[in-house]
């Protein structure tokens, strides 16, 4: 048993939902109790998906446990197939259904439906969300691409003369950190290199698309946490090599271009020419001097954390004072990277431990997840989000990749924004007595800075207006950000009516009067 306040990852069936929701033409039937449907809101609220996730839940209750939960599951599969007409079904159990051992895979296959059934075994009491996503993607790839695997010993046919090289782009899923825009950015980069994209998966792929993954010459693995396992299987089955470099930052993007060009046998020069990103110049501009040596603490999934640490040191001129990840599956990669920065790697999903380590490291900037954003807020440290777990703010309306040349621009802006600008730092040093530049001042371009300041004293009303003690107490219950307005309105209301004392009744009469 583990005491947990906040979790970085959901259960593994949520990982499976991220694959099913990213794909087209599949439906996931999940044996799960009432209440597990909460997971729909991750997709419809956080990611603002316009469709419900393609998931049917059995939502069994206590009264069903004495009866036939297996029958309930079979009916749910039958109904889901009839209603949604998917090209393939995924079936599995959530944590509670795992305990009642109904064998969703066997039950679904026994129905003899005219579509393939992929049975997912995701051990909820051992594994977590990213593992569940990787395992689900792997099972899907094996199920649909498996039949086209050539006999062992077959060599890949040579590319036809004049044909363009083709690759798959693997890993982008639902609820991923900027996956939508990373795919667009990397597809553009590949096009510059003269490489066609055969299939992007799981995002937007149908089972039929998965079946033709083998047509590509190699795989671009954007998110190893999700696609690493599937790519390893594709390497064994189809002899497809996979990329290892993650194109985050200028250096990361350059390395990626070299790697991809070598895999495809093309010239990297056109894509490298001029490195069309403003980031290298912005970071060299004299204005960026104040960024030098800023202490940063980096925490996230392994891929984003390792990449962010490199960008932080080599491209922003920061000093990395901490590096860690919540994904134990990728602890080795993070440990290796930590050596480069001479920091102790932090491999943990214990929120309180991470908070303690950040506090101890005293960084000036935290590059983390939404969880570290809260830690940083509490400690009064600037923070930028670099990785899942995500929040509605991590799905911006604008094009906002973190990969490729444009991604480097986005990182520069996103990481500099929460910091106080250089000149402003000086002003605070110079004019400590100034009301605006006091020691607790937050960056002036951030609106919420005002929230850190104490509420101004109520303006003394003209004339003999008095707040009765109970009214004064009552107004204190109004949220602070509208309290001032409520106070002003009530006083105006009382003055207009010639009242001498503001009572609780006056307060509410005024509220009703002004309404909304």
């Amino acid at each position: 048993m583990q005491l947990t306040l906040w979790t970085y990852e959901g259960p593994p069936h949520v990982g499976a939902m991220r694959i099913a929701t990213a794909m087209e033409g599949v439906h996931y039937v999940l044996h799960a109790p009432q209440g597990d449907t909460y997971a729909d809101l991750l997709f419809t609220m956080i990611e603002r998906q316009q469709k419900r996730p393609p998931v049917t839940y059995t939502t069994f209750q206590a009264r069903d446990l004495g009866g036939d939960t297996a029958e309930l599951f079979k009916n749910a599969v039958r109904d889901a197939h009839a209603r949604f007409q998917p090209q393939a079904l995924l079936v599995g159990a959530s944590c509670t259904a795992e305990l009642i051992q109904d064998d969703p895979g066997g039950l679904a296959r026994a129905l003899g439906l005219p579509v393939p059934v992929v049975a997912l075994e995701l051990p909820s009491y051992q594994k977590k969300e990213n593992w569940g996503a990787a395992e689900t993607f792997y099972q899907v790839v094996r199920a649909f691409a498996g039949p086209s695997v050539p006999p062992p010993g077959t060599t890949r046919p040579e590319r036809a003369p004049g044909a363009r090289p083709r690759c798959n782009v693997l890993g982008p899923a639902a609820l991923g950190f900027r996956h939508r825009d990373d795919v667009a950015e990397i597809t553009r980069l590949l096009a510059q290199l003269g490489i066609d994209v055969n299939v992007v998966a799981p995002m937007g792929a149908t089972p039929a698309d998965i079946a033709r993954l083998g047509d590509a010459e190699f795989n671009v693995v954007l998110y190893p946490e999700i696609a690493g396992q599937a790519a390893a299987w594709l390497a064994r089955g189809f002899g497809q090599k996979a990329t290892k470099c993650v194109p985050i930052g200028i250096g990361g993007t350059r390395d990626f271009i070299h790697e991809v060009a070598a895999l495809a046998g093309v010239d990297p020069a056109p894509a490298l020419a001029g490195a069309p990103s403003r980031m290298p110049w912005y970071t060299r501009s004299v204005d960026s001097n104040y960024l030098t040596g800023k202490r940063v603490f980096v925490f996230g999934d392994a891929t984003h954390a390792v990449a962010a640490a490199r960008v932080a040191r080599d491209e922003m001129g920061f000093t990395v004072v901490g590096l860690g990840t919540f994904s134990r599956e990728f602890a080795r990669e993070v440990r290796e990277a930590a050596k480069l920065y001479d920091v102790e790697p932090l491999i943990s999903d214990d929120y309180l431990e991470i908070e303690a380590r950040i506090t101890e490291a005293q960084p000036e900037l935290v590059l983390g997840t939404q969880m570290e954003r809260h830690i940083a807020k509490r400690l009064g440290i600037a923070c930028a989000v670099i990785s899942a777990p995500v929040h509605v703010q991590d799905f911006p309306a604008r094009y906002s990749p973190v990969m490729g040349w444009e991604g480097a621009n986005v990182l520069f802006d996103a990481w500099v924004h929460p910091l106080m600008m250089g000149l402003e730092e000086h002003l605070i040093g110079m004019f400590r007595e100034d009301a605006e530049f006091h020691g607790d001042a937050a960056p002036s371009h951030l609106g919420h800075a005002a929230f850190l300041r104490p509420e101004p004293e109520p303006v003394a009303a003209a004339g003999p207006l008095v707040w009765a003690p109970d009214a004064e107490k009552e107004v204190g219950k109004i949220p602070f950000f509208v309290r001032g307005k409520a106070r002003r309105n009530t006083e105006k209301f009382a003055l207009d009516r010639g009242l001498a004392t503001i009572t609780v009744e006056t307060l509410y009469d005024a509220k009703a009067h002004y309404g909304r």
């Binding site: 048993m1 583990q2 005491l3 947990t4 306040l5 906040w6 979790t7 990852e9 959901g10 259960p11 949520v14 109790p33 009432q34 209440g35 597990d36 449907t37 909460y38 997971a39 729909d40 809101l41 991750l42 419809t44 609220m45 603002r48 998906q49 316009q50 469709k51 419900r52 049917t56 059995t58 939502t59 069994f60 209750q61 206590a62 069903d64 446990l65 749910a76 959530s94 944590c95 509670t96 305990l99 051990p123 909820s124 009491y125 051992q126 908070e355 939404q370 969880m371 809260h374 509490r378 009552e474 219950k477 609780v504 009744e505 509410y508 009469d509 509220k511 009703a512 309404g515 909304r516």
Partner: protein, 423 residues
């Protein structure tokens, strides 16, 4: 507002559905309960899914160190490699060492803890024996197999009833208002009740675990929320007597709710009128503005919070909205008798859910507004149907006279927004 009984829905047929239920489980109640009882802590004994549910339903990770946590069961507990009870004791020790201000600890059962039959009531007794008098340990189930959304609050409050102090011998009649309300609402209701001479008014849950209200045969209780079946039963077992009333939503509902208390305590009609005249007047005045926007609009309730029937009554009678379907996860006919009597005859009521079939009905009816959970809201909006999230109704002060217009505004805002937008 007279003649309502003749129009009522008391014996109306109800569409009962059994299929996929798109509802939260009772654990969700922790999100508001842990703010309400300020020295209580909620420890869910469950899975990673439980922990993920609470933090997702809470919307964002707002509080660095909230007064709830999950003891996540892992395979060692399941395989018997670790004794689950020893593990739980260890986790509770760890928690209490970290949070010495906790006075009341709820062990909250979940689907997995129920299925593996982990006996949390025995665990609570054992842990209470260890940690009393500093910390009292209680237990209840918030599991999805046992509870739907607001039933978690019911289970929590019911678990408090046995530890309420016995009312003093010879104590006069007291009034107990039951159901979590915003503090500002409690204060308003208390002022109104005191204004009509009902002096001994207590609220449950209390703001502090050290301020438990006494209960006994001279306690009359008034439900402030419609989902408290088990709590009511437990209070009655302690001798308390329920005052039947509709719920304090809207000007009419608030008046009827207060009137029920006034009648039970023998308040003279003039005194009642004096106490309620001013706030009732301003509530009506403030509501009039929203009626313009809401009148004639159609509304469809998906089952979620059990607030659906009182809300439908308010929106139909005071805002002149048209009720297409009123779904509720569970219909408690006795506690809702006064509400049902006020609904127009022939109102389509449904209990339980088959979410796909209900979505078919909603799409066919194309109501102006659908009240539903967070999983369904954006997909319906994308289909051009306006929505109101039901969870907001639990996090917003909506009861009483001075919140009546705020309640109406929650429904008017999505309609207003659609009128403004030109994109």
């Amino acid at each position: 507002m007279s003649g309502a009984a003749a129009l009522g829905c008391g014996d109306a047929p109800v569409l009962r559905e059994r299929g996929q239920r798109e509802v939260f489980c009772g654990l969700t109640g922790i999100i508001w309960l842990h703010r309400k009882i300020q020295d209580a802590f909620f420890l869910v004994v469950g899975s990673r899914t439980c922990a993920h549910l609470i933090q997702s339903a809470a919307g964002v990770m707002i509080f660095a160190e909230p007064r709830f946590a999950t003891a996540i069961i892992d395979e060692r507990d399941l395989a018997g490699m670790a004794d689950a009870n020893d593990e739980l004791d260890r986790v509770v020790d760890q928690l209490l060492a970290r949070r010495p201000e906790i006075r009341l600890l709820f062990l909250v059962g979940s689907c997995p803890s129920e299925v593996i039959k982990l006996d949390l009531s025995r665990a609570a007794e054992r842990l209470s024996a260890t940690h009393m008098p500093q910390v009292r340990v209680l237990n209840y189930s918030g599991s999805g197999i046992e509870t739907t959304f607001t039933q978690g609050e019911d289970a929590c409050l019911a678990s408090l009833v046995p530890i309420l102090p016995r009312e003093a011998p010879g104590a006069g009649s007291s009034l107990l208002v039951v159901g979590a309300l915003a503090e500002v609402v409690e204060d308003q209701l208390r002022r109104l009740l005191e204004g009509m001479g009902i002096a001994d008014v207590r609220f449950m849950p209390p703001r502090s675990a050290l301020a438990l209200p006494p209960v006994g045969p001279n306690t009359r209780y008034l439900l402030a929320q419609p989902f408290l079946a088990d709590t009511a039963r437990a209070l009655e077992a302690r001798g308390a007597v329920r005052i039947p009333a509709p719920f304090p939503l809207g000007a009419e509902g608030t008046t009827a709710w207060l009137q029920a208390a006034a009648s039970a305590f023998g308040v003279a009609p003039e005194r009642f009128d004096d106490a309620t005249r001013a706030p009732l007047g301003r509530a009506r005045q403030a509501l009039a503005r929203h009626r313009e926007q809401l009148a004639g609009k159609s509304i469809f309730f998906f089952p979620d919070s059990q607030l659906e029937i009182p809300l439908a009554r308010f929106l139909q009678r005071e805002m002149d909205m048209r009720l297409v379907e009123v779904g509720t996860p569970y219909l408690h006919r006795q506690h809702l008798a006064e509400e049902l009597a006020m609904l127009p005859a022939g109102t389509a009521l449904s209990e339980g859910q088959n979410v796909d079939r209900q979505l078919d009905r909603a799409r066919a009816a194309r109501p102006d507004l659908v009240v539903c959970g967070l999983g369904l809201a954006n997909p319906l909006e994308a289909e051009g149907i306006g929505t109101k999230w039901s969870i907001e109704l639990l996090f917003t002060p909506i009861q009483g006279y001075d919140q009546a217009a705020d309640l109406a505004e929650l429904f008017a805002r999505p309609l207003n927004r659609r009128l403004r937008l030109r994109v």
